[in-house]
Amino acid sequence: MAAPESGDGNNGAARMVTLISSDNTRFEVEAAAASLSQTLQLTILDGGGGGGDGIPLPNVDSATLSKVLEYCIKHAPAAANGGAPNATAVDRAELERFDNEFVNIDQSVLYSLIMAAHNLEIEGLQSLVAKKVADMIKGKSPMEIRRTLGFPDPTPEEQAEMNAHMLEYGWAYE
């Protein structure tokens, strides 16, 4: 999946790339980690992001980017192995533990992360965050869902809309 060093003969130190957040913070990471992003992978394969250049990411702020890269660095080795085949049960358990811990964060960070994962096309991170948000919805009543996701209590108009919906789609609420 993630591209190995593209045969430039640089077998020693891992190739590094620089990413620049929307607020102009520079992050230097291994190309293999950044390549978990489908969006970045092409640029990196083309030799971009090295030297003093850096790849600007105008949609991702530095707080979010550092969180995204934390995920990428942790997941890069497994991705380089093509995922599961070589991974031991211990490795996988460790990744799972990391993932659970990783999304145990403030909701605002969660939404920034899912947007960034979407823009950068990091599949694993997208589904990790989507699952986390889904878990916050599961098994709850409409009002509980609203409160959990930080929606204000409905206005009378919204309440009327909710009631109409619950009438129309009664089966969903049984």
Binding site: D61, A63, H118, I145, Y169, W171, E174
Partner: protein
């Protein structure tokens, strides 16, 4: 994405945005990803109450899962309501014992589905003699675009379409000993579907005690796989 400072993670900008603002900023694709992680389509539909932004997004889901009795009566309505371009998967788990309720949604599912149908009926029952089949028989319509159909019918019997509509069918297998009426179905299918009729026949099942899967493969590997899991008798 409204953050500007950002040197301290999770520090809020001056104005506190509500969860509603943040969630409403998410594109449909992402909300679909979230809803796909819920257990059933009913649960996804319930998120409509969040805001007008979320109201119809559940109808974009390319995978539909029905698990509870309450969902079951509305499968047809749900399939009819969905607007997902290709419907990748329909999964039904039920203990409903009336084939006619399945008949209400199967034809529509057959038209809409471009992927996988998984149906599992866990009703307990006994095989009756062939004469009693009528009220426990499910008529399988043509799933022209389906790539895989897995039916676990419990005690229900299956009637296959008589015309050659399963032109993409490349595999028919049963992983358990096959009851008498199912054996008859298999022969009907072989007769009904031209591609299958040309395929080499699997070894005879003899007295029906064999546990070997009955497999018919045409070898092009890309077509419809119909797997009928028959309950033991």
């Amino acid at each position: 994405m409204a953050q500007s400072g950002g040197e301290v993670a999770a520090k809020r900008p001056n104005l506190f945005p509500s969860g509603e603002d943040r969630l409403s900023a998410l594109p449909d694709d992402i909300i679909v990803l979230i809803l796909l992680r819920l257990d059933t389509i009913a649960e996804a539909a319930r998120t409509s109450v969040l805001s007008s932004r979320w109201c119809r997004i559940w109808t974009l889901l390319p995978e539909l899962t029905f698990r509870k009795a309450a969902d079951y009566g509305h499968i047809r309505d749900v399939i009819a309501a969905t607007e997902a371009p290709p419907l990748r998967q329909i999964r039904v788990k039920t203990n409903d014992d009336a084939p006619d309720s399945m008949a209400a949604w199967l034809p529509l599912a057959a038209r809409r589905l471009s992927g996988v149908l998984r149906y599992r009926n866990s009703v307990e029952g006994h095989y009756e003699d062939d004469e009693d089949e009528d009220n426990t028989t499910i008529a399988l319509p043509c799933f022209g675009k389906a790539t895989k159909i897995v039916l676990n019918l419990g005690f229900l019997a299956l009637a296959l379409p008589s015309s050659g509509e399963f032109t993409r069918l490349t595999n028919l297998s049963k992983t358990r000993p096959v009851p008498r009426h199912m054996r008859a179905q298999r022969h009907r299918l072989l007769a009904a579907v031209p591609m299958l009729a040309k395929a080499p026949r699997p070894a005879s099942t003899g007295n029906g005690q064999t546990h070997r899967p009955l497999g018919v493969s045409l070898g092009d590997g890309s077509g419809l796989c119909l797997r009928i899991a028959a309950a033991p008798y």
